[in-house]
Amino acid sequence: MNILSEFLVDRSVSPTASRNGASADQDAAVTVMHAAVRGRVRVNVSGLRNSERMKRAIEVMLTGHTWVRSASASPITGNVLILFDANKELALVIAEVAAIVRHAHTSLPATEISAARKPARPARAATARIEPALPSTPWHRMEVNEVGLLLNSSLTLGLAEHAARLALERFGPNTLPKPAPRSSLSILLGQFNSLPVLLLGASAVLSAATGGMADAVVILGVVLLNAGIGFVTEREAERTIESLMSHSQPVALVMRDGRVREVHGDSLVPGDVLTLSPGTYVPADARLIQVRELTIDESALTGESIPVRKSPEPRLGADVTLGERTNMVYMGTVVTGGSGLAMVVATGAATELGMIQALVGQARPPETPMQRQLDRLGTQMVWLSGGICMLVFGIGLLRGYGFLQMLRAAVSLAVAAVPEGLPTVATTTLSLGIRSMRRHNVLVRRLDAVETLGSVQVICLDKTGTLTINRMSVLALQADLEPIKVNQAGLYGEGGRIDPYARDGVLRLLHVAVLCNETQLSRHRDAYVLNGSATETALVQLAIDCGISVNGLRQHYRLDTVEYRAEHRNYMSTLHLTEDGHRLLAVKGAPAEVLGLCRWHMKDGVRHVLTEQERARVLEENARMAGHALRVLGFAYAEGACSEDPITYDLTWLGLAGLADPIRSGVKELIGLFHQAGIRTVMITGDQSATAYAIGKELGLNGNGQLDILDSMHLESTDPEVLSAVAQKVHIFSRVSPANKLEVVQALQHAGLVVAMTGDGINDGPALRAADIGVAMGSAGTDVAREVADVILEDDELGTMILAVSEGRTIYNNIRKSIHYLTATNLSEIAVMLSSISLGMGQPLNTMQLLWINLVTDVLPALALAVEPPEPDVLRQPPRDPSEPIIRKQDLMRFGSESLVLTAGTLAAYVYGIARYGIGPHAGTLAFTTLSVSQLLHAYSCRSDTHGVFSKERLPPNRYLNLALGGSLALQAGTLFVSGLRGLLGLVPPSPLDLAVIATGASAPFLINEATKTLRSKRRHALTSTPSIATSAAKREGNRTKEARG
């Protein structure tokens, strides 16, 4: 909106800069650097250097225009490159930039300007604080007619049609810029960007150069296959996300040339006079002109679920927050009641909503560690196997083998030994995880989010809409002085279920609740549509649920006058007349006050005088309901008399109704499950702390201990260090504005925790993005929330989150299993080659055999291990230590020792072969087959770190692994018994004794490895060394600091 105001308030920046002018002389801040090409200009902007904020301002503001194709500002050089519609005057572009710059200069605080001159401090990517958006024009501080004057529009006639067209050209359509989705090319290129893949490519080239065309083709095939799988799965996921975005185009009623017209929401321009009616979205930011009982649900913007009452008066002061600007309505919010006229003051990217979307772009999520680790592990394996291959090559040369023969052997060994399956396994597993979660209605937006899900240590839960159903409901009544519980199934009193029609007291209470109520009721298809305040709607809803004909009742008791609640009068009353001249006064309001007006109460249809004890009972029940965080209303009525002022009546007391936004079913159990899985739960709410406490207690957020609540409306002004320190203890953040959710997430991250965060409002965007796992709701959420979230719960059920966690943990474990398998078997291949060549026992495996092992024994079982079902106790374990590498040192040691056992078995068979047949294909066949089979068996060993063939608890079966192993064994048998295949691999048919030796050489290592696993896991149980979150957090923080320094 800033540009607009600039133009309107100060027209000195006229578009007169000459095309070739080296500088825009109206404003020395903008200098044209290069404008030789039509539709393309490079300008230098003073004050842009080192100012990220200026960069954003320029980019966001410029791209808000349709005629600007792209704008990129560099805070390093101070230059802005703008591509624009070639039909537009260059001067206009420059004037636009000048306006933005001047505005930014005057609106940015002096400290920011001076800071911009200093070299920017390196910000930590993970916890960079979001700077506030540029301050917008204070429309809420102006009188309505001032706004009209500024916007050249008439409050009564609206804009002229041609003026609207011109404005549309200048300000662009009223649409929010959509964040660009990842392109197919970038997804594809991403697949080749890993060291093992590059090395494979290099070795393919080498193979081709040394005449091993077949090897080269096979290697390339492996690479392409990996890339293909990765590309397809990632693109599929990206497509699903895109398809989720809704592209609804709401229409708007505007006044143009004095007539009301229906226009597309995207053609609104500043100055348009807009008609607001219930149930519609507000299509742009607008200043109210006149209203009738207008209420707006601003939860998408402010997170506040109770609608805000709006009015054009008064002119507000400077220091009012967005939620308090009652004379403004904002794009993306919903009209819940009443009607109004408003003048559009901002459209598209210039709206508050657009600003927030622009802000969302700033917060970058911390990278999940696994991809990095796998890269690092891959690199290490490359160096290790590369070194060993060199060693084999050198020893071979010394031993007198031919140069070319050894080079090719070394290269094939490298190919076999480099775990090129590693990225593939990870990618495939993660995408399979995405698929499987999709079946549970969990949509995962990024591959690595799957893995992060498994390490989540804290989950921040947005109260409204996530924990509660985001709709006020009546939860309790007191009628006939009897407490009554209300739930979806009906009313329940002390004596069981209550039929409201059989209980006069209840029925009268409901009648008065409906009559003393301004909710508009309309029928839409088969359902009633209620328009009114959240509280009144809830009362009408209860009456409808109880089977009361609301419209019939209201027709019978025609509304005569309404007395609203006032400053010192905390109740409202309505006077009703019937056809036969009968009068009814219905009163609803603060229980103590209404009770004070009453002299009577109804008991079993008879009027009694209210005694002091009965009054005390009412007040006690009132206090009890309030203590359960219910909003309590009292009801009373009078009949027959003439006055409409309740004070002159002796009212008859009916009872109480307690309302709240009810907690979703199953949430309490879910919180328990999170706690069992070692995940801390944090509730974030805009509620007062007493309400928050009642909910927190009901949900058991604190486990059993005390409940810690941090109450702050201005978290951003709290010292981040202190906030981070206390945030680790806090169960509830109360009175937090949605924008401050970011501070909560960052404070927790700063304490070294892996944070998941739920949210569905527009304002949740920055926090969702900054969280390690941002969780959005599918249907309830806004586009922005869905766009930035890592995980989308499509059925809006938070319960699926625990499934996602379980899945995430399982997938992480499974990737470990695959890596375990790949590493151990690859090491065994290297060890067999190295030891036999250095011992002078010839070359046990030829090139094709190595590639065969690589293709058959490596990939299929590794993939099958990646889809292992969850281990039984996966949700009873604490989250893994995020600072712990996916493969620890002790894991590598174990993989090494296992591979040595495998090597020993193979070498034993090979030595037997040499002894019996001498060095040659016969012994080679024994070594090859023993190694292959023992590796296949080893896959079973890799299914669990703790459970083995010797342990009591069985793992759930993995069909895919059985299939993979069966198939692989069959193929392996084929190499021995199918002559063509046998010839290609240079094998000879084995004798029965050979087969027995192979069987022994392959199964003995399996049994030995299983036995040591059982022993090891027993020893570990004795130590029970689960690292506490605190120490792991400290470690992780250390790592982050290191990374930041690096």
Partner: protein
């Protein structure tokens, strides 16, 4: 015993961070007792770096918005600056419900003797009460004057007589004693914080403070500053902002200010934030009640009563009475009379002083007002333990 000496006591304004914490703790207590007089509440409060920490444990039927209560206190005290104010400060509450129901909520006023006997002390405590004839309130003169100055300073700020004054402040009064009787004012120190951005010369501020705070304080006092009294009004120059953004605060760190300005002994544990079932709080009131009645009865011109409670016993296990030689009879005899007239059992104290219902009977709550300006020696509110209704019985028994 040295009979000629100078003794000084300090006091602080209600905006001092320690006092702020005391007031928040007691305001929470007031709210609980107003809704449910039989609430059991322990509240501790600390403030640092603009964050208020409140730990509250309770067993109560009441529902209290603790942060809201705290914000009200902050707002009433008058913190409005950017550094610390009611609206933007962060409040961290740690709320726990007391599961221990071993002593259920009972109404002490309806208990018989055996019932009272069963209500034993649940804390070990040494509590002290003191009274003397130095002032009409039967308080030592130094703390009396120091408090009076502090209240005057606070009210001058509240009336916005000087726009530059901030809520935090401190006073100290030194009194010269001759033969254990106050004879003149030795020195007066006043430290008043000021808000940011108002340049006021130190001399001007000193003059304002003297005219608006010091002089009115002594109008109705028997002893006023003389020519030799030394004044230290903001002696170290301007005290900018003050309050929780500058220094931290903690409940129970101003026990001397709350009681007798260290002229007599005082208990170590905090008085604020504890409900009447805490003997370490109400014992101090009972001891003051006894001491004041002893002095009022003319049995001595000064009297210190010390009670020792042990967990599991209802009667105090020890009572010491010290008149510093001013008694009209032996200390032992006075002590015996005190024991005959006063029932020091915890439930009896609550009953006799009506401690559970005071917040409901006093406008704006009672305990918070105690925390703001002293728990004993208050003439501005009718405190049960300031009554001298037992003096006659003591004299005659």
């Amino acid at each position: 015993m040295n009979r000629n000496f100078v003794f000084s006591s300090e006091s602080v304004t209600e905006g001092h961070p320690d006092k702020l914490c005391d007031q928040v703790a007691d305001a929470v207590l007031d709210r609980f007792l107003q809704q449910d007089p039989f609430s059991r509440v322990v509240t501790d409060c600390a403030v640092a770096k603009g964050i208020l920490f409140i730990a509250s444990r309770y067993a109560s039927r009441a529902s209290v918005d603790v942060p809201d209560t705290a914000r009200q206190v902050i707002s009433q005290i008058g913190y409005e600056g950017e550094d610390f104010n009611a609206r933007t400060c962060t409040v961290m509450t740690s709320i726990g419900e007391l599961a221990d129901r071993s002593q259920p909520a009972v109404d002490e006023s309806v208990l018989d003797n055996q019932g009272i006997e069963r209500m034993t002390a649940r804390n070990m405590a040494n509590v002290f009460g003191y009274a003397c004839t130095q002032t009409p309130a039967m308080m030592p003169l130094p703390i009396w004057l120091a408090r009076k100055l502090a209240r005057r300073l606070a009210s001058v700020r509240r009336q916005r007589s000087f726009s530059y004054l901030a809520p935090d402040g401190k006073t100290q009064v030194g009194i010269e004693y001759r033969d254990r009787e106050p004879v003149r004012i030795h020195s007066i120190t006043l430290i008043a914080s000021q808000v940011r951005g108002q340049n006021i010369s130190p001399d001007r501020m000193r003059e304002d403070l003297y005219e608006a705070v010091v002089r009115p304080t002594f109008i109705d006092e028997a002893i006023a500053p003389d020519g030799k009294t030394s004044f230290h009004l903001n002696p170290e120059g301007p005290f900018l902002v003050g309050g929780p953004s500058l220094h931290s605060g903690l409940t129970g760190r101003k026990n001397a200010v709350d009681t007798y300005g260290e002229y007599s002994r005082h208990g170590e544990s905090a008085l604020s934030g504890k409900d009447p079932s805490r003997i370490d709080r109400v014992g101090a009131y009972a001891a003051r009640y006894a001491a004041k009645n002893v002095v009022a009865a003319g049995l001595a011109t000064e009297c210190e009563v010390q009670l020792t409670y042990a967990i599991g016993q209802s009667h105090p296990v020890g009572l010491q009475l010290e008149t510093r030689g001013t008694g009209s009879m032996s200390d032992d005899e006075i002590a015996a009379r005190v024991l005959r007239v006063f029932d020091f059992r915890p439930a009896a104290i609550i009953r006799d002083l009506g401690l559970r219902h005071l917040p409901n009977r006093t406008k704006g709550g009672l305990y918070r007002r105690l925390a703001a300006a002293g728990h004993v020696g208050r003439l501005d509110i009718g405190l049960p333990w300031e009554r001298i209704d037992r003096a006659a019985v003591l004299r005659d028994s």
